[in-house]
Amino acid sequence: MKRLLKSGRVIDPVNAIDGVMDVLIDGERIVQVGRDLPTDGASVVEVPANLVVCPGFIDMHVHLREPGQEHKETVATGVAAAVAGGFTAVACMPNTVPVNDSATVTALILAKAAEAALARVYPIGAVSKASKGELLADIAELKHAGCVAITDDGHPVATALLLRRALEYAGMFDIPVIEHCEEPSLKGDGVAHEGFHAAALGLRGIPGACEALGVERGVLLSELTGSAFHVAHMSARASMRAVAKGKTAGVRVTCEVAPHHFTLTDEALRTPVPYDTNMKMNPPLREAADRDAMLAGIADGTVDAIATDHAPHHYDEKNAEFDRAPFGIVGLETAVSLSLDRLVHSGLIRLPRLVELMSVNPARILRVTGGSLSPGAPADITVIAPDLAVRVEARAMRSRSKNTPFDGWELRGGVAATIVGGRTAFVNPSVAALKEW
């Protein structure tokens, strides 16, 4: 069955396209993008003038919690949140229970994803068995089962030697090692960014250097091994310097930044709600100079991807003393609005750069399909409404958990529709013109 998305603004950076075009889809694949394409028996869908058609957004850092923590999230609720947030694909972290260090767990995640049939799911395997930092996981097995990268996320890879081996070994399959960069002895029992606000609240601090040391280690070992190294959820200005330096030296290093780290600062620990556990994540919300460095890195190209570090936690777990509550917030359903509001409407970047950050580069880093609207590519399409007035409502989220710091926020820009493999997986009911989608 053919569908023609008619007369929308299409942004496809890989093919240097930015203009009013038609997109012809046949079944699961893109046939062609061009001006005034013949209808040719396709059903025609008019794209309203204020919407933008983009290659599907890919969130390369989410926690789907299944198997083992289904009270927080399942693959099914996670992908429902993903498509509602404009993501046609997500890459899920291996810190499930049990850890995704085997083909069995990978297969289970993929089976659940196939059953849900919404967003594509790319499992990420563990670097080490049970992510314990001792023995390498069976990386070839993981790769063949469908894993697109390896990480011990939640923690850094335990030793420099093991990280070196992981990089060398993963290099054989050309999959990146994704690292939660952190020097454990500097983190200690810290729960917030080390700075004035944590000091005033009496919260134990985690300095930016804690992360930057991990970034420096990874960049050096990436240079040593020649393998691809990806920095997860980067938050500190010293980390940004380390990545920029590595890139200048030709090291195969890439990095991602989460929307909360380019939006919020550690001041949010105190106001409006003191000790709000939805302001607790790792790495922590940092000071304004760090937030500004994230914004600068997004503008100057140092940052490769925006990824949410979607970390659902149950209400009961977050309704606790600040130092006892778990780290992490949900992000899938707010990322596009925050990015449009804070990055595009602020004038920092333009829409094609946003598409690079949310689609082109994640696909490139993970070596997965997507990231373009090239003929023959899967018809994974995110349609955004850059000027839509959005009010974030935690209660209305598809995710099983509602632990967002952005509840009640009013933002400019949102998701209009999400098409995965030619199938419409989500249509935003508040975009009236899309009724017939």
């Binding site: 700075g195 005033a200 606790a320 003393e321």
Partner: protein
């Protein structure tokens, strides 16, 4: 923090319009002065042969202590009894936390029995804020983690005022483990709001981040901190800090930061020595100093009762709550 007030002036307000006392950071200089003035009247009650007034008769006060405490818990309990409140002590050993109940559930269960006030001591910073969001009862912070210990700062200020007749313009040196101290944070808020010149001193390893933004002078040279000081306050050095490599040995700590008679000579001739307790003699303070004529350490303990009576009374009689939501 730039607002300061002469303690000699009459208080501009006559009641606290708040449900809780979570920290000194929330209080205005007028509110602080009101508590201190009220404590003077309360102190007089403690000197009577019959040390009891009916101010809190029929009110139920729960002392909920998740951390061991002798001084603070006893002080609150005496204060409550002198005001004729019905008091109930819940200590960590007998609490249901060991059975896995959350703090929120403990609070809800207590709340169901309609206490009027809950005095909370907890090892987590912000525990009182959590309780205050859940409970209709007034929450009084008796020390939360490394955050605040507001009644300690109020009793310290009361004691200083008894000796110096003012707070504004005094040089106050606070020496010791600054990083882990809730007493420090409450005292900084209170003393800077009331116009004192606050100096803090300790090794850089035990200094909170960005200490300069608290409106104090920070130094690791104890002589600079105590020179011409009107008040010297020592903070407890916890013996286990050596394991965190904050300093090499208690002996070396005492050599560099210990309060000795020789160092005391640098201060004003009428300087007073304070300590919130419990003391480590020979670590942060030499015994001769702790027991010297300028030491007001036991007066602090005595004044704690009067100040806590004032806080309990003012919160119980607050005409309406204007606590921010």
């Amino acid at each position: 923090m730039s607002v300061t007030r002469d303690v000699d002036a009459l208080p501009a307000i006559t009641s606290l319009r708040r449900k809780d006392l979570l920290g000194i950071a929330d209080l205005s200089p007028d509110e602080i002065a009101l508590v201190l003035d009220t404590a003077e009247a309360m102190k007089e009650i403690g000197s009577r042969p019959i040390k009891k007034v009916p101010a809190l008769r029929g009110k139920t006060v729960v002392n909920l202590f998740f951390e061991p405490s002798t001084r603070t818990r006893t002080s609150f309990e005496i204060a409550e009894k002198r005001l004729s409140a019905d008091t109930l002590n819940i200590a960590i050993a007998s609490s249901s936390v060991v059975k896995g109940e959350t703090l929120a559930d403990t609070a809800l269960n207590l709340e169901a029995m309609s206490p009027d006030m809950i005095v909370l001591r907890h090892s987590s910073s912000g525990a009182c804020h959590l309780l205050s969001r859940i409970c209709r009862s007034s929450i009084i912070n008796a020390g939360d983690g490394m955050h605040e210990h507001p009644t300690q700062a109020l009793l310290d200020a009361f004691t200083i005022r008894e000796h110096k007749k003012r707070l504004r313009g005094l040089k106050v040196a606070i020496v010791g483990d600054l990083l882990h101290s809730r007493v420090l944070r409450s005292n900084i808020h209170l003393l800077t709001k009331m116009g004192a010149d606050v100096w803090v001193c300790g090794p850089p390893t035990l200094m909170p981040a960005d200490i300069g933004r608290f409106g104090v002078q920070a130094t690791s040279v104890i002589e600079d901190a105590v020179r011409d000081a009107d008040v010297i306050m020592l903070l407890r050095i916890q013996l286990e800090r050596m394991e965190g490599a904050y300093f090499p040995s208690l002996r070396e700590y005492f050599t560099i930061f210990g309060m000795t008679e020789a160092r005391l000579k640098l201060a004003q001739p009428d300087a007073i020595i304070m300590h919130p307790g419990p003391m480590n003699r020979g670590v942060e303070i030499a015994s001769e100093v702790a027991d010297g004529p300028y030491s007001v350490i036991l007066e602090q303990v005595a004044n704690g009762v009067a100040v806590r009576m004032a806080v309990l009374h003012l919160l119980a009689s607050a005409p309406e709550h204007e606590e921010a939501a």
